[in-house]
């Protein structure tokens, strides 16, 4: 007889939702979290697309510590001395099931854990699992926590992008440096009304998401981001690890510092107080580096299974984690009921993922990571081209104007018309 029906390792979006579902199904579930509280080791950019959260917690808008609903999408091409921004807002973005919110994981993850605990899940904090317990056949039958061995019918790994356990669970090798990015972020405190005004939001409950490409990473693979919280701004840089390690023109923290000082960003955070400096990896390789999500006695959900996509104009991870956590919890509960938590018994989890947006979306954008990594002109070339074109368009200095075609062609030719066509075609194909 096992100590618990299920053990969940990690108390992030996937872990707490899985534990919630298991507890709701009447299972004895233990969540082991290495932080002193849920979220203590977690970090996001970040924004959560709410659709999957809504399915688990229909009233989350009233109860969850979400920050601001995103009502402005901004994307920018940044050169050292200029910045070109597209700003989009629409009523559609606010509709139920289509809405998204800035979140801070310290508070958000504690709320998620509370929901699982209220359903009866047990939590232990401050313990890192270093080893999975296996029986003679190699089936995962529990975890080793310090000196203690705790057994369960099934173990759910939800321990994040830098999991040291997926190798033991399903033989997943350490992901390659080209498939992961490093994020560095500062949380910058400002009065709520100042944030509202600066991002042109309608109220203190609304805010903006802003992604940057170009000078924010000094021209190498990556980008900048900004999300509005209630009384702080999350500002950061995400940079491809391999690209930055091999030919980054500055360390990632210096990229962030320079982004903060860029004339397009500095006014936004003026007078703000840095209250946290954080770092985290992003599994941008997505499905290309996804390990087996089911093993004998074990399931993987969230970042540890590389459930993430970065399209340049959109970054997703938490909505996948919530949905995968829900499916993992439900499928694990059914497998326990059926008395079969072998790899075959847990296989319905993989089928559920395949039939849902999680694996469908990840598959749809399968080619994107490779395209983005080699989309060098997006990070150095196009931002400068746009700058020159916009300078030509907007500046009046008294010299007689040229026909638009004549003034624009030399600018486009610097990048190369064939290159431009090639990139457009590549983007169309990947997206």
């Amino acid at each position: 007889m096992a100590d618990f029906d299920a053990i969940v390792v990690g108390s992030g979006c996937a872990g707490s939702v899985a534990a919630y579902e298991l507890a709701k199904a009447g299972k004895a579930v233990l969540v082991v979290e290495r932080g002193n509280y849920a979220g203590a080791k977690n970090m996001t950019g970040g924004r959560i697309y709410a659709h999957s959260l809504k399915k688990v917690f229909p009233d989350f808008e009233q109860n969850a510590p979400i920050e601001r609903r995103i009502v402005h999408e901004r994307i920018s091409m940044m050169s050292p001395d200029a910045n070109f921004t597209v700003d989009f807002t629409s009523d559609e973005m606010g509709k139920e099931g289509q809405d998204s919110y800035a979140v801070l994981r310290g508070s958000f993850d504690q709320w998620l854990a509370e929901q699982a605990e209220n359903e009866g899940a047990e939590y232990i904090y401050g313990i890192a699992i270093e080893e999975l317990l296996k029986d003679d056949s190699g089936k995962v039958v529990g975890v080793k926590a310090g000196e203690d061995e705790i057994t369960a019918e099934v173990v759910l790994l939800c321990d994040g992008v830098n999991s040291l356990l997926t190798d033991q669970a399903v033989g997943a090798k350490r992901p390659p440096a080209h498939a992961l990015a490093v994020g560095v972020k500062q949380t910058i405190e400002l009065p709520a009304n100042v944030i509202t005004d600066r991002v042109l939001a309608g109220s203190d409950d609304e805010g903006a998401a802003w992604l940057f490409a170009g000078d924010c990473t000094k021209g190498t693979f990556g980008g900048g981001f900004m999300y509005t919280n209630k009384e702080s701004i999350s500002l950061g840089v995400v940079a491809g690890i391999e690209a930055t390690a091999n030919h980054g023109k500055a360390p990632v923290y210096q990229m962030l510092e320079d982004l903060k000082n860029h004339p397009a960003v500095a006014p936004l955070i003026k007078g703000g107080k840095v209250v946290e400096h954080s770092g985290h990896m992003v599994p941008e390789g997505g499905i290309n580096i996804m390990p087996e999500v089911v093993g004998d006695g074990v399931l993987l959900a969230g970042d540890c299974a590389m459930m993430c996509i970065n399209l340049g104009y959109m970054v997703r991870g938490m909505d996948f984690a919530v949905a995968a956590g829900q499916m993992a919890g439900q499928c694990a509960a059914k497998a326990i009921d059926a008395g079969d938590t072998s790899k075959a018994g847990l296989a319905p989890y993989k089928t559920a993922l395949e039939n849902s947006f999680v694996l469908k979306d990840l598959k749809q954008f399968k080619a994107v990571p490779d395209f983005m990594e080699n989309f060098e002109r997006m990070f150095c070339g196009y931002p400068e081209m746009i700058r020159d074109a916009m300078n030509t368009m907007f500046i009046v200095d008294g010299t007689p104007v040229q026909p638009m075609k004549k003034s624009m062609m030399p600018i486009v030719k610097q990048v190369g018309i064939m290159n431009l066509l090639k990139d457009v075609r590549g983007a169309m194909k990947a997206l």
Binding site: G39, N162, A177, A245, A250, V275, S278
Partner: protein, 98 residues
């Protein structure tokens, strides 16, 4: 690394963070005499600026301000990172905002 202009002192930012530093146990260890090229990779990718070189090029590494992101493990896990573990129970960084 002399070609890189570093104007920011990340240690000042790290001082704002909440840590419980495990003085008795380094959770990350480098090989003896790490190569310049590999070390410089970590200077570029570590978000906490734990990997540093002084004006003479001498290398220093201090795990105390680690953000536990694992980037150095991914970048140099096969080369100069000899050991990468999570800090001992209740130790390390504690995000209040995240």
């Amino acid at each position: 690394m002399s070609d890189m202009k570093i104007t920011v002192n990340v240690d000042e930012y790290l001082a704002i963070n909440k840590y419980e530093v495990d003085e008795s146990n380094a959770h990350i260890e480098l090989v003896d005499d790490p190569s310049d090229a590999e070390f410089d990779k970590l200077i570029r990718v570590c978000p906490a600026a734990l990997y540093k070189r002084d004006d003479e090029g001498a290398k220093t590494f201090d795990y105390a301000g680690c953000l536990e992101c694992g980037t150095c493990r991914i970048a140099c896990g096969d080369t100069i990172i000899k050991k990468w573990e999570y800090p001992q129970p209740t130790m390390g960084v504690e995000y209040r905002f995240g």
